[in-house]
């Protein structure tokens, strides 16, 4: 017990150290670049952030942006896993879906933003774009995970006539967990990035992206960085929550979790 407390203490000390380290790097960059307009001083940004957090509109924007990212991610994850499983079970389906995925992955947003904007409300466009970005990542990793499932275990299940859905639940799903969680970690970051970028494009009323955009056009770099920092912190927060969740759900479930 005491052991784990000291460990936790050391860990949080560690976090503070890491935080200070990166702030120092930032301060260093500020001193080297010497252009407030490109890289503002950390202190200025924190002061601005302090001003922002007391505003109601700040929290409203953050809340709406979080909602959009989560909606986009959940869509991506659900569809990515389902379609990933379907398309790796049958080679024909895979061959059919693969070019679609390549298209989704590589088509520049520019090319279809207008349809998206006309079909969805401007508040939902970021969800859609976030989905288009993250869905193929999840899909690719799920397919890779399934391809690397241990065939020996599948053979075992076959000999014992284990039902399809049990095989899915007990062999496929646990096998794709590491691939899946790598994809999710990637998407948690990407999701924020593209949602915010899409908010810049579609200008919903309450959105981090909208604030970011006006900060940029008005060359208000401390505000720009303050909002950027908000995005980064939210993304780190999300990642930590996700890591906690995965750890909990695979606790004692996989040899790797412990090591």
């Amino acid at each position: 017990m005491t052991d784990s407390i000291t460990k936790n203490k050391r860990k949080s000390l560690n976090k503070i150290f890491i935080f200070i380290f990166w702030i120092a790097v930032w301060q260093g960059a500020y001193l080297v670049i010497q252009r407030d307009l490109y890289v503002p001083a950390p202190l200025d940004v924190f002061l601005r952030l302090k001003e922002l957090v007391v505003l109601e509109v700040f929290w409203r924007s953050v809340a709406y942006s979080i909602y959009r990212v989560i909606a986009g991610l959940i869509l991506s994850i659900v569809l990515g896993v389902v379609i990933g499983i379907i398309s790796s079970l049958n080679d024909y389906v895979y061959d059919l879906i693969n070019p679609l995925m390549a298209a989704i992955k590589s088509t520049p947003v520019l090319s279809f933003i207008i349809i998206a904007l006309i079909w969805f409300s401007s508040s939902n466009v970021p969800i859609f774009i976030c989905f288009l970005m993250c869905f193929p990542v999840i899909w690719t990793n799920v397919v890779a995970g399934i391809r690397n499932v241990d065939i020996k275990l599948l053979e075992m299940a076959k000999v014992y006539h284990v039902k399809k859905w049990l095989v899915l639940k007990k062999i496929y799903l646990p096998s794709i967990v590491p691939y899946f969680s790598a994809a999710c970690i990637t998407c948690l970051g990407l999701g924020w990035k593209v949602s915010v970028a899409a908010e810049v494009l579609s200008h919903p009323r309450n959105a981090i992206g909208s604030h970011l955009y006006s900060a940029k056009v008005y060359l208000d770099s401390s505000e720009l960085f303050a909002w950027t920092l908000v995005v980064i912190l939210l993304s780190i927060l999300f990642e930590n929550i996700f890591a906690r969740l995965i750890e909990k759900s695979t606790m004692n479930k996989s040899a790797k979790a412990k090591i």
Partner: protein, 232 residues
């Protein structure tokens, strides 16, 4: 079983192989490493398809298979591993009863909540044995099932097969490299050679199991033959 044929790339593992396996018996397969034993019983258990030929009379039989490797789900506990194969065949209560029964048979009741990585080699093997026994298939296919087990447990399990499993109108097919094991339990001993796989000799051990302990001399004769034939 007729005209079996199986290639791995250029290697002809099984070529024109014919064999009869009589039901309600314990068959033991004996043969050097790499001769094709596992391939053969994989085909019997229809785990892999034969390139040619077919197995008769196996279609509707359920199979319990103890693999050469343990093939446990690493993310499931000992108990879950056993329930995994039972759930599709038995209802929940039955499955739980079977699991409990066979866990205590292999002496793992205390470890039923342990994960494979927390087990010793022999304990993993015991889990695999419990899984196969608990499934109670019509055919019990076993690939070196008792490796890594100490003598006592091995004997207990063999007794169990002879006393209970055997009576339930099942047939057994098992691979071993241990002469004593084979003579202790088998009705038929098939000595294989290969590849390509062929039957060198079939020995029928016609001593009832109850008498094997007492008829030591006769057993010794079988052993001599067995050692002799597999040496050649």
């Amino acid at each position: 079983m007729k005209n079996l044929h199986k290639n791995y790339g250029e290697l002809e593992v099984i070529k024109n192989f014919n064999m009869m396996i009589s039901p309600n018996k314990i068959h033991c397969i004996f043969g050097p490493s790499g001769c094709g034993k596992t391939t053969f019983i994989n085909i019997v258990a229809s785990l892999i398809p034969a390139d040619e030929g077919n197995i008769e009379g196996m279609q509707e039989k359920t199979v319990s298979y103890i693999f050469q490797e343990d093939r446990l789900l690493p993310w499931a506990t000992v108990e879950e591993n056993i329930l995994f194969v039972l759930e599709s065949r038995y209802d929940e209560k039955e499955a739980q009863q079977l699991a409990d029964k066979y866990l205590s048979l292999v002496d793992l009741t205390n470890f039923k909540n342990a994960y494979p990585r927390e087990l010793s080699g022999g304990m993993k093997q015991r889990t695999a044995i419990a899984r196969a026994f608990a499934y109670e298939g019509d055919v019990l296919v076993m690939d070196e099932p008792f490796k890594g087990l100490h003598l006592e447990l091995k004997k207990d399990l063999m007794e169990y097969i002879i006393n209970y499993g055997y009576r339930e109108n099942r047939f057994f097919l098992f691979i071993t490299h241990d002469v004593d094991e084979a003579l202790y339990i088998a009705d038929h001993i098939h000595i294989f050679q290969g590849p390509p796989l062929s039957l060198k000799q079939e020995i029928i051990v016609d001593i009832p199991h109850e008498e094997r302990r007492s008829q030591k001399e006769k057993l010794r004769q079988y052993k001599e033959i067995l050692l002799q034939r597999s040496k050649e």
